[in-house]
């Protein structure tokens, strides 16, 4: 190699080394800060984090936000023995479909043999906006269920890097140890505990808003064959690993009226599915007035415990 080439190589190596040494500490510092802050993630972090940071379960609850708030795994544990995990997110991120199915396979403990699987179903978890034609436009395409591959890491940096959109300092400043449980706290077992003002006027205002939302949704939604197919596949898959139960959770009278007007034969549809699949179906949809709701759609936490207990009793009876 000519002298000029050697000189150039030396200058390059020296310059590059100097550059990497100069910027290296900044990158290390930033990564260290992220690592430390991320280690404080807990149920206050956001509405989904804890679904990706706990041990893989053998007994699981599926559904949307109605399910995530109405079914209390700790009550099921007392009644049915065994740890349960509520893997319900919300109607946008966990409607029944191929994405939820793939996520379920990643979430469930691969050693599961005699699990109990409670699939909470509402018409909204099986329907789709009538204008959507392409599966790439399904709302759950942007769900963390679609692109997070690790479900039992704590802290789960993959989830935080891909889906936590706030400053990571908030993970630290808003942790349970610092501020107590937030108003929407996701327990380790997946139960979403909501703490809101339950004065009847506040409830009425939230319920009115929710009814407007569902009325608008009803204009656009229709039952989706893709979702029904995926629902069948999920049941088939889970049946090989244990016992499946379908549950229709009640909502307030107003919300149920909107649902039943739009989907008058929904309970019959679920009965047909349960018969075809040889699984039990518990329809609580006519028990609206038995429970209290924070906003007409989601059960209030005290009512959730009662509901879960009754559901567990039904499962126990169903087992005999």
């Amino acid at each position: 190699m000519p002298i000029s080439g050697i000189m150039n190589l030396f200058i390059f190596s020296f310059s590059m080394k100097k550059f990497l040494i100069k910027i290296g500490p900044y990158f290390v510092a930033v990564v260290a800060v992220f690592a430390v802050l991320g280690s404080y993630a807990d149920g206050n972090t956001d509405d989904n984090y804890m679904h990706f940071a706990v041990k893989k379960p053998q007994n699981i609850i599926l559904g949307d936000s109605r399910g995530s708030q109405a079914v209390v795994p700790s009550v099921l544990k007392k009644k049915l023995s065994g740890d349960f995990d509520n893997f319900s997110l919300n109607v946008v991120e966990s409607p029944y479909g191929q994405i939820y199915f793939k996520a379920l396979k990643r979430k469930l403990d691969p050693e599961t043999k005699n699990g109990i699987f409670i699939l909470t179903v509402s018409p909204w978890t099986l329907s789709l906006d009538k204008n959507i034609k392409n599966s790439k436009d399904f709302p759950e395409e942007h769900s963390p269920l679609n692109d997070v591959y690790t479900y039992d890491r704590s802290p789960n940096y993959e989830y935080l890097l891909k889906h936590y959109t706030r400053s990571w300092f908030k993970i630290y400043t808003e942790r349970v140890g610092a501020v107590g449980k937030s108003n929407s706290f996701l327990h380790e077992d997946g139960w979403m505990e909501i703490n809101v003002n339950m004065h009847k006027d506040s409830v009425a205002a939230r319920t009115a808003k929710k009814e407007v939302f569902y009325q608008a949704l009803a204009q656009q939604a229709k039952l989706s064959q893709e979702r029904l197919r995926a629902f069948d596949e999920i049941i088939n898959y889970l049946r090989t690993k244990g016992t499946v139960y379908l549950v229709r959770i009640p909502a307030s009278k107003g919300i149920m009226a909107i649902e039943n007007k739009k989907f008058p034969h929904f309970s019959k549809l679920l009965q047909d599915v349960s018969r075809k699949q040889n699984v039990k179906f518990f329809d609580f949809s006519e028990e609206s007035e038995t429970y209290m709701y924070t906003d007409g759609n989601h059960m209030y936490r005290n009512s959730s415990k009662i509901f879960t207990s009754r559901m567990a009793d039904s499962i126990k009876v169903g087992k005999r």
Binding site: S15, Y26, L161, K162, Y164, T165
Partner: protein
């Protein structure tokens, strides 16, 4: 792949290491790497439109050679026209088909006719406005004999598809970028370090300023009918900083990234909100686009030669076309027209080139006169931004009408103190460095002061940035 995404933070170091450690023996190898990396970068957006990009590259590459090999002017003009028509044809179809068809239907409807129009669900290929103009500037420069036709396909393809500038500019010139692609690049420590500073500043403007303004701006513009006049003013001001932070932040990241590879791109922003008049503003805002229109539209139309009426006509044309370039909506055309109106008095009085040097050059603070001029120019820009941001002309006019009520003298319901403080911080930093290439060019300061300042910027980004992978506004153009 957004610059502010994990994917890019993995992509960039890999390409950097391959570029300087594996393929550094010959610049031709580095060019091939840049081309593959750029195609991969673009394919991450939508692989289907990669073929359109490749077609555009191929078309202009061949057109350049054909123009140079032409036996006579007529033949050369034929190839030039073919390239322009096809390039603008694609741009027109993807970007403006629904606009023209919809506007035509509305016009017919206004005249009492009912038209059944066929609107298509067209996805706009990201970056098409930018790479189309890249290609056009090249064929025009070859035609005008400013540059020889490029015979090396890889070199030409890198010029068009170079990933830092592919999706949102700056709009480069072949005379500036091609020579850099065609020579050996040596790693320059100072260039790379300053590139990193520019990247850091770009991320600050995008993630802290622009992405924090965005939710407030969206809320105010969506609910403008129930907002107070004070809040509407805040909405317009915040949008001015949102679009500045977003676009100049992107440009800073693009330029900084390119400098890591030893390639200098054209400066795209020169602190436009410190402008003392609208002519100066347009010399400092989206410089690569306004200079493109000046060189390829204004000057061919006659430019400043000929009488005042021709100058006025040409100025209006480029501002209206510039507005139209931004999007298929009458609001952008009105925005362009408004800026043309602002420009007119300066043009007529021959004062459009009176503020060439930077405000308060060589001094620490501006004079009262300069402060006033900067404030008025900023207000004028904000007013025009209302049209840029609004969904329709009706909304923009309603927005303005609601600002201009007696309630404007009342304090806004709530002042976004945090974001205003961050904007103030940005303005101070950029004011101090307004005579430099970018806002964080602080090499002249003491090393320890610099290190502390970098840590402050990094802390602010970590503490206050919005990490929601928010897209850059100019991707929609």
């Amino acid at each position: 792949m957004l610059f502010n995404s994990i994917g890019f933070l993995i992509f960039l170091p890999i390409v950097f290491c391959l570029y300087w450690f594996v393929f550094n023996k010959k610049f031709q190898h580095q060019n091939r790497l840049l081309l593959l990396a750029s195609f991969y970068f673009y394919a991450c957006w939508d692989w289907r439109f990669l073929f359109l990009l490749m077609f555009s590259i191929g078309l202009d590459y061949l057109s350049g050679i054909k123009i140079e090999n032409s036996k006579n002017k007529r033949e050369a003009t034929f190839w030039l026209t073919l390239s322009i028509v096809i390039n603008l044809g694609f741009l027109g179809f993807f970007k403006y088909y629904n606009f023209f068809v919809g506007s035509f239907a509305e016009l017919l409807g206004g005249l009492g006719f009912k038209a059944n129009v066929w609107l298509l669900k067209i996805i706009l290929p990201v970056g098409i406005s930018f790479y189309t103009f890249h290609g056009l500037s090249y064929v025009i420069d070859v035609y005008k004999k400013r540059i020889k036709a490029e015979r090396n396909f890889t070199d030409y393809a890198v010029f068009v598809s170079y990933f830092p500038l592919l999706v949102a500019g700056p709009i480069e010139r072949a005379t500036h970028l091609l020579p850099q692609i065609q020579k050996t690049r040596t790693f320059n420590y100072d260039q790379a370090v300053d590139g990193m500073r520019q990247i850091l500043w770009g991320f600050f403007k995008k993630m802290v300023i622009a992405d924090n303004c965005a939710p407030l701006v969206n809320e105010i513009f969506t609910n403008y009918q129930t907002e107070s006049p004070g809040n509407l003013v805040i909405g317009a001001v915040l949008f001015a900083f949102q679009i500045y932070g977003d676009f100049s932040g992107y440009s800073d990241i693009a330029l900084g990234v390119s400098r890591l590879f030893g390639i200098e791109l054209l400066k795209n922003f020169a602190f436009p909100y410190f402008s003392r008049d609208i002519a100066e503003f347009w010399r400092r805002w989206h410089i690569s686009l306004s200079s493109w229109f000046r060189d390829y539209l204004y000057i061919p139309l006659g430019g400043s030669k000929g009488g005042l009426s021709m100058k006025i006509r040409n100025t209006f044309v480029i501002f209206l076309v510039s507005g139209f370039w931004h999007g298929a909506n009458w609001t952008f055309i009105i925005w362009g027209g408004l800026n043309a109106l602002y420009f007119m008095p300066l043009l007529i009085m021959n004062k459009n080139r009176q503020n060439i040097e930077v405000a308060a050059q060589g001094k620490l603070l501006p004079s009262f006169k300069e402060c006033f001029q900067i404030f008025i120019t900023f207000l004028a820009a904000c007013f025009a931004w209302i049209f840029f941001r609004a969904e329709s002309i009706t909304q923009a006019l309603d927005y303005i009408k609601r600002i201009c009520s007696t309630g404007i003298f009342a304090l806004p319901h709530s002042l976004p103190v945090k974001i205003l403080a961050l904007i103030g911080f940005m303005l101070v930093v950029e004011w101090v460095n307004r005579e430099r290439f970018h806002g964080l060019e602080i090499k002249r300061f003491n090393p320890w002061m610099r290190r502390i300042f970098y840590m402050v910027i990094i802390y602010i980004i970590l503490r206050y940035a919005n990490f929601g992978n928010n897209e850059f506004i100019y991707f929609q153009f």
